[in-house]
């Protein structure tokens, strides 16, 4: 459908008028349509669009009329089973395979542990986290007119086109990006939000320019203490753009990248084409996708995702289920030590006496994993596993060991890492209101049958 939102709105208004809408009804219509920006953005895809097969403005009009009770009943009853068009497009473009989709709009999907065994996460198996929609530029793969602006507490605000970024000295690192809510499903009571288990992490190979090169080009003022990140994504709802940031020291760390290649390819739409940040070891929400602006600030950022309870944790331990006052919440991150068992898969069956290879990954935010331990008796005894070194700072580390069972029954394989500071992973998850920093010991249930 080629029509613009504007034309569709005008047509619908005329239609309502011609069919006897009262002046009061038209006032309501006008009020709703004045929020066209919101509805227009929302309307590029979604339940109604996919179900009815119509364009953006049409859906927008339907939404605007909810307050009047004008709801197509087919939509109301069938919305659940609808495959979102944008979700379908971006999943297809990245050839995603085997992910568990939590939500189609915004699209959120995680990788099951048994598909996380690669040293470098293939694009098809990298998890997906979105707060909003995928940018139009990314969907069209159109680099025309793209630029990244650096402004704020700098001496010379600068901007870079994609060509200019690609012409700079680039680096390539294997870097983990992990959603701050990864592990939320194991919190009790369950906090709100996507119920991520273990798979909201990927460790792909990212190519780009260290952010510090761009900040140095702009010249940081002495007042620079924090960054604020902005992207080209359309926002869901009527709210400010999603925007998080990091302390300036982290922004100047050499592995914090302005990336334009993922595993050697142009970044897929859903992962942030053409340019995204990669801030390894910190909540994934700091690794802004579709990045087009960084504002250097003289204080901690206060964008959407930095205040209230979002991506924030209490500054003291709280009882499970408690909601501390807002002023007692602080910005969360960096990530703590974590590990995942990538083999065997949950619910695998083995024979008594069979040698079972146990494999996994481990990572530790700003630190390094020094030891991996495995238990097959609910934590009574632990056996040290063979642990690889990180390919580069921050990259996850592969580990493996063999286990064997002398008798039949139900068993669990548990894995626990220890970092260079002696930190390990808990067996009971400390609680916070939104379910961040989950780093529980990973447990894989298996059955052992008589030989």
């Amino acid at each position: 459908m080629k029509k613009t939102d504007h034309q569709t709105w005008d047509w619908l208004r005329g239609y309502t008028r011609d069919h006897g809408a009262s002046p009061q009804d038209l006032d309501i219509f006008d009020e709703v349509s004045s929020r066209r920006q919101f509805f227009g953005k929302v309307g590029k895809s979604g339940a109604a669009l996919a179900l009815l097969g119509f364009g953006a403005g049409t859906e927008a009009a339907l939404q605007g009329l909810f307050g009047r009770g004008m709801i197509p009943m087919a939509w109301a009853s069938d919305a659940e089973g609808v495959a979102d068009e944008q979700a379908k497009q971006v999943l297809g473009e990245a050839s995603k395979e085997g992910l568990i989709v939590h939500n189609e709009r915004p699209l959120n999907a995680e990788t099951p542990p048994h598909l996380m065994g690669d040293a470098v996460t293939p694009i098809k198996r990298h998890f997906i986290r979105n707060n909003d929609l995928v940018s139009e530029r990314a969907l069209r793969k159109n680099p025309q007119g793209y630029k990244l602006e650096i402004e704020g507490e700098v001496n010379n605000p600068v901007s870079f086109t994609l060509d200019e970024l690609q012409a700079m000295n680039t680096v390539t690192y294997r870097l983990p990006i992990e959603c701050g809510g990864n592990g939320r499903a194991y919190f009790d009571p369950a906090p709100r939000g996507n119920q991520w288990k273990n798979g909201a992490i990927g460790n792909s190979e990212w190519t780009g320019v260290p952010l510090r090169e761009l900040l140095n080009a702009a010249g940081l003022k002495d007042t620079a203490v924090y960054t604020a990140h902005y992207g080209e994504e359309p926002i869901l709802g009527d709210r400010p753009p999603f925007s998080r940031g990091i302390p300036i020291d982290k922004a100047m760390e050499e592995h914090t990248l302005v990336a334009f290649k993922m595993n050697g390819e142009d970044i897929p739409a859903v992962h942030g084409y053409p340019v995204r940040l990669v801030v390894p070891g910190w909540y994934g929400s700091t690794s802004h996708k579709w990045l087009n602006r960084i504002v250097v600030r003289d204080r901690e950022h206060d964008g959407r995702g930095m205040t209230g309870y979002s991506y924030r944790v209490p500054k003291y331990p709280v009882a499970p289920g408690a909601r501390p006052p807002e002023e007692d919440m602080v910005v969360g991150g960096p990530w703590r030590i974590k590990s995942v068992i990538t083999g065997p898969a949950a619910d695998s069956e083995f024979r008594v006496g069979q040698t079972i290879k146990v494999t996994g990954q481990a990572w530790a935010g700003e630190d390094v994993v020094e030891e991996m331990w495995v238990s097959t008796d609910f934590g009574l005894n632990w056996k040290k596993a063979k642990l690889g070194r990180p390919h580069n700072k921050y990259s996850w580390q592969q580990w493996e060991t063999d286990v064997k069972f002398d008798g039949r029954g139900y068993y669990e394989i548990w894995a626990r890492g220890v970092d260079n500071k002696g930190n390990t992973q808990p067996i009971a998850q400390p609680w916070n209101p939104r379910g961040y920093d989950g780093n529980l010991v990973h447990r894989i249930p298996i059955m052992v049958e008589p030989a």
Binding site: H19, A21, D25, Q63
Partner: protein, 106 residues
Amino acid sequence: MFKRRHLSLWLLIPTLVTGWLVASSAPSGTLIPTAQADEMSPKQLFEVHCAACHSITLPKSQRLARHDWEWVMDDMEDYGMTWLTDEQREKIIDHLVEHYGRDAPR
């Protein structure tokens, strides 16, 4: 005027305005009577208002206490949720607590 419009939009019209056409032939000449909106079940209110912005697999995957669902609704209204009466809001919260409350089966 319809010939200049895309066919799919034309096909939408029966779905969108069936009730409207009926209403427009009535003396009042209004859209759909507000009373009809209030007759929507809590489930329909939940699906229609929440799916306006996001797919509802997300709320359906939650198991939250009433105070948490109220917190979520507060935030969603701040985020520009489609307009609700107090009564509709309560119906949606009741529905969420009943089906996706802390003790609801997964």
